[in-house]
Symmetry: C2
Subunit: 797 residues, 2 copies
């Protein structure tokens, strides 16, 4: 009795301990090491409440698996409890610090583990990004031809290395176009062009078909952008395998293939997903992170930052993206570590040097002119346009995605859908110089200023070539917009950043050219020549800047990013001077976009897929209190005037466990009759005063273990969650001590707490459930699901 009493203040052991001595049995839970398979219903998780240590002496001596957490697939994690587990683990390691040298080493390793882990993640993310960039570029160029003497070079490098003075935009001698190899037709003959077109289409379709086959066969999670799911995972949702090694491999290969196919998609979103896969994989090297879901998310946040960092060459933008868009729990320590991770990834990418030059950024601009204040008007117009087109895109894409989801024809045949879309994309985009080249080259061309390439670039001509280019741009914009609606969501790895930037850049350039022409016209009118100083053959305004601002506007309209977007654009272009135009456009885009519909594309896809994501951004000005949302639901009026007899009636609705007095049989039948994931433990059914909370898993495991290993525990044994356990009757069943599997620190709110406060608690503290009390009595429970349900109802009203 004495010993059992003492050991009950002890939170954890790592084996099953039988204690037949005396008259009571103490259940110690068998904890299997986390990280393995989780098919068993009796899988232990969080069975230990590690909050009841009172002195350091009570700490167990071994680093036992119960310090780690384990959740079922598609479950939500309990942040507070996971973090408590980690603190317990940390405490134990700190205690061992005195054991020289092993304890000290272990302690040092533990302290540095986070940094080492993100270092690895950064290295791997940078390398992966470099390889994918190079691979995608090479395979994409294979669409048109091959490098004659060195087949492993892409178009640009082939022409560079050939020492060929004849290199103009599209062509050099060393680069052998496909039809050329077959028969020596004149390269401008119709047949040659037709063959080239066929090759172009054929290669594209082959690539995308391969990509979709890989995804379908090996890793279904590898499709899409991945950012909506990453958001959910970072908010505490568990999707097994979504960040696994197979997803990583297939997504990498698929990304190269889908990029090479020339579809209207980007590598950036998938890069974030890949970086998170890397983070997840590496976190298993460090049990501190790999086996504790809440801690793992710190690594994943840093990985997401690294993903954006390598995607755009924008480390600061990456950190802000992780903060603003992706992450949920983002303490400043994580921010600093994300920064480091993004930095390392950026350095490595610079080292791999996939962009050929020494630039770390995807696009590099170096505008020499200044913008004038009057130009803020067209920039604001671009913002408005971005907000409108972004919302329109979201609306159409979600409509189409819903149709795809519900339609048997489309949903069942992803391969045909991909092939068809690739066919259409390739067939049409071949005929427009802007859509024909890779999105990245197109954006670079649109961003560029004119001064240097006036004779090469049709966009910089002031004569007929410009009108033709203008028409081509308009056509490209419409085509991009329509095809991207159908592309985003097909079953290949596909991101949305670059298509959005592309659309925006085209729109921006169109407006830029227009404004340039207007300025010239105004200057040409008598008496206005002082207003502008436009010179023939030079830009009057910078159409390239307009393209950049347009890109920010459309990207903002689609994703509803704000600060991180401006920082990414800023880092992309490296031009501090032009932060103000970008900011203005983003701001207008966000206002208009939010005015049309509150949700960005990622939130819209989260809602479409029904993920349990509690957005940390919104505000919910509802006049509801906790008792109106909790289950079992009672009308507030009733709860207000509830007497003891009412509570007695209520107890039939709310399934509770009493602190003492319930038998094993009672508990088992309660578990059978209900499907709740947990039960409040109360002093008595009459008083309903709250003692603690116990999860279904814990109690199932405890009962299972007791039944299996302790033969004297029978159906009539009384389960005690209290401290004082009476001696068993002579000959009667042995009592069962369960106090140590009880969570003695459940979160509670009173019935009159406004729902805004409750939602705030869920978001900021990462709760899974909260108990509703009134005068110390348990009335009901509110789970994350209830909150989401409540918010959906409120929003649809």
């Amino acid at each position: 009795m004495e010993r059992a009493g003492r050991s009950s203040t002890l939170g954890s052991t790592d084996d099953v301990e039988l204690e037949p001595s005396g008259t009571s049995a103490t259940i110690h839970l068998d904890m299997t090491a986390g990280g393995g398979s989780s098919s068993s219903d009796f899988n232990p998780f969080g069975a230990i409440d590690d909050v009841r240590f009172k002195t350091d002496d009570d700490l167990p001596d071994v680093m036992a698996p119960p310090f780690f957490s384990k959740y079922g697939d598609f479950h939500t994690i309990d942040w507070q409890r996971d973090l408590a587990r980690d603190r317990l683990r940390h405490k134990m390691i700190s205690k061992k610090k005195v054991d020289f040298p092993l304890g000290l080493l272990q302690s040092g390793w533990d302290a540095g583990a986070g940094w080492i882990c993100v270092l690895f993640v950064g290295l791997a993310a940078g390398a992966t990004a470099g390889i994918i960039d190079i691979g995608a570029r090479w395979m994409s160029d294979l669409k048109t031809g091959v490098c004659a003497d060195r087949f492993w070079l892409d178009h640009e490098h082939c022409c560079w290395s050939s020492n060929d003075t004849f290199y103009k935009d599209d062509d050099c001698k060393a680069w052998t176009k496909w039809p050329w190899m077959l028969n020596y037709y004149n390269s401008s003959s119709f047949l040659f062009l037709f063959l080239e077109w066929i090759f172009y289409i054929g290669w594209a379709v082959a690539m995308s078909t391969l990509a979709v086959l890989f995804v379908k066969i090996f890793a279904p999670y590898a499709c899409g952008s991945g950012i909506p799911e990453i958001k959910c995972i970072l908010s505490g949702f568990v999707i097994r395998g979504y960040l696994g090694k197979w997803t990583f491999i297939i997504k990498s290969v698929g990304l190269i293939l889908s990029s090479a196919s020339g579809l209207s998609l980007g590598k950036e979103g998938p890069m974030v997903h890949l970086a998170c896969c890397i983070g997840n994989i590496f976190s298993y090297l460090f049990p501190k992170y790999g086996l504790n879901e809440a801690k793992k998310r710190e690594i994943l946040s840093a990985s997401a930052a690294a993903g954006v960092s390598v995607a755009f060459g924008a480390p600061i933008g990456g950190v802000l993206f992780s903060l603003e868009e992706a992450s949920y729990y983002f303490p400043l320590k994580t921010m600093w570590r994300s920064f480091f991770c993004a930095l390392v990834a950026g350095i490595i990418l610079r080292f791999v040097n996939p962009f050929g030059s020494n630039q770390t950024s995807l696009f590099h601009v170096d505008y020499m002119m200044k913008w004038t204040f009057i130009e803020l008007v067209p920039f604001a117009i671009l913002g408005l346009f971005g907000g409108i087109i972004g919302s329109l895109f979201i609306f159409a894409n979600i409509r189409w995605s819903r149709f795809r989801k519900n339609s048997k024809m489309l949903g069942g045949n992803p391969i045909y859908e991909v092939m068809l879309i690739t066919l259409v994309t390739a067939a049409i985009s071949y005929f427009n110089p802007f859509t024909r080249k890779s999105a990245q080259s197109m954006i670079q061309q649109l961003f560029d200023r004119c001064e240097d390439q006036i004779d090469e670039d049709s966009l910089c001509d002031q004569n007929k070539a410009l009108s033709i280019a203008f028409g081509q741009l308009l056509w490209a914009l419409i085509f991009k917009f329509v095809i991207t609606i159908f592309t985003f969501g097909i079953k290949v790895p596909c991101g949305l950043f670059v298509p959005s930037i592309g659309m925006g850049a085209i729109a921006g350039r169109i407006l830029g050219i227009t404004v340039d022409q207007i300025f010239r016209a105004v200057q040409a009118t008598p008496g206005h020549s002082d207003y502008f100083t436009c010179q023939i053959g030079k830009d009057c305004v910078m159409p390239g800047l307009y393209a950049m601002v347009g890109a920010a506007a459309v990207l903002g309209g689609v994703t509803r990013m704000t600060v991180s977007l401006v920082v990414i654009m800023f880092e992309l272009t490296g031009s501090l001077e032009f932060i103000v135009p970008t900011m203005v456009a983003t701001m207008f885009s966000k206002w208009i976009g939010d005015g049309i519909s509150k949700m960005g594309i990622y939130e819209a896809h989260i809602e479409l897929n029904g993920y349990p994501f509690l957005d940390s951004k919104g505000e919910y000005p509802y006049s509801t209190v906790a008792s109106q949302v909790m289950r079992p639901s009672i009308h507030r009026q009733v709860a207000d005037e509830m007497s003891m007899s009412d509570l007695r009636e209520l107890k039939n609705e709310l399934s509770v466990i009493t602190e003492s007095g319930m038998t094993l049989g009672d508990l088992e039948s309660l578990l059978r009759q209900t499907d709740f994931n947990g039960f409040p433990v109360v002093v008595s059914q009459n008083s309903m005063h709250l003692v603690g909370f116990i999860t279904r898993r814990d109690i199932l495991l405890a009962l299972h273990t007791a039944r299996k290993t302790q033969p004297y525990v029978v159906t009539n044994s009384i389960a005690y969650f209290s401290d004082g356990v009476p001696d068993a009757m002579p000959g009667g069943p042995a009592p069962l001590r369960l106090r140590k599997i009880l969570d003695m620190a459940p979160m509670t709110v009173t019935d009159q707490t406004p729902m805004e406060t409750v939602i705030d608690m869920f978001r900021k503290l990462g709760l899974r459930h909260v108990l509703v009390t009134k005068n110390g009595k348990v009335l009901g429970i509110i789970t994350k699901k209830d909150i989401l349900q409540f918010m959906r109802n409120k929003n649809s009203q």
Copy 2:
């Protein structure tokens, strides 16, 4: 009875309502409009708990002041309650939206108020910064001379506008030095130089004495950097007058004067304080913000961002500074608004154009070279140096500040201290070309690359001049370090950013020159000439980059900023290429600094001054539970085995109010006998089951009003916090209804909740207190003060 019952579910009215009808009196509180003076002890604040509305019909019809909050000086605000008040206000406005056109207009105004407010703040902050910059520069240059024909021009503009070809670093003909005006001595004679020296010192002392006098006489809060106090205010502390108009005016003037005095101080910290003053002043135009302390802090966060934005010309850095360093409650909406505010302030500053050029940034660099990977080693060394010197600085400055605080001689005579330090600073710094010029020019010179000014700049000479400059730099570094320790904390407006950047830039340049020489030496040795390609007369490495990196390192060591620091440095210099070196240095600086001492200079000053600041950064791995920290304190063991009789003994310690049964006299004597700021309301002294919480202010106000206005309420009247109020005995005293002043949604935790969770709740939810319960019974209370006390004890152990 019926009517009283209904009205008790109603949360607010704006007048005193007497209800002599029937047998009970209902207290409605007299709410004076917030924002006025607060000397009265009966000042109403939060007397209305707005959480008990159940339907929209229950909403009051007028926008009454109780939607706003009011706190005493040096009190902590209750975030949850303030935000609830704002939601109530918002709900009421939304309800009126249907009233065309007034309600709609009001609703629109309300929605746009935040943006309009930050727009004004941005405009005003930009203008203020421009004026201060121009003023400080002009008055600073007056130290050495005056512009002969146009006295209102500073040195640089004077020389520019004079069309004088003879303009070399320090001199031009139009600029008349002071001694010159007196007698036409040879400008290199000893007497001339001596007189110049005396003028230099005299002007400096005059300026600083004026500054300290202004501060002492008109606005004592105007001294210092202000950032520690801003941090506390943003975390929810109320310091009346700290952000008032007098502080603003005096700090602006004092800042110009103290900058002009040539003391080793910066304008940047005070600029943040000034921006927050502007935010506070403008917020009163919008009652939504001005009269609700929690909402006001949203504006203040944006203001802080604008302050940094104008101080450094770094809008993104400003937002990140506000996020990382200054703010406490920083939802994403605030982030976006801060961004806007910082942007507007930046545009205005660009318009005012105080830096003469068209650059928005304080320093502008344009390095043409690339750095090599091997240089990361010296960059890391700079980081180490920055961490060490930063910690040393904090240690010494805090020691000196503590001495100043405790010493009667220094504390009582701030004027003499300022005069003495100015005298020493001016007298010594005159003799070193680097300390003589303004800190900003010095930093700009150290940051600059060498290519263009090889014949002008001693730092770019490869011969003897370099050795002399090297010695001068070393001497400047030591001088700067020592004098800044004594300067930061004197009673004039003084910031720490520029002095830190200055120290770092000097140290960096010293290392840069050294590395440059080493590289040259290695290149000169036979067989190593391929390693580096150093040319005579050009930089081999970029010493300017080293200066920049050193600046980041020291600033990081002093302030312990991370992400925001790198972004600020990045925006300062506008060079994306050099973000990696800055990041490396900042990282090492932070590691080393945190290894030596966890606190940055601002946290150290907060601790020194004993402000109740709950740092949102630290981690507290304690194995303590709530019952060990709460008051009244009971040993946990006891609490664990507490029986009903124990609780009865305890009740004498914990002052509670019962839901019903206590008379007015009982309440008044309870208020007299205790000095707690609030009391839990329980069902009965026996059961101790929690009903709600009531603050001292509310109950004082209610009793005062009742006594004053309702003659039939006597000492024997029974106060009811419950719903059901029995009829008074015939002839007996009238009962007093107090339910509506009761906070029915107090935050509670169980006694077994780990303190980490409790601290987390305080930080993330912005609580003032939390009630500790066990089995539904109130055991005690934990206030923010208790938490701070607990953390201090733990840290000192």
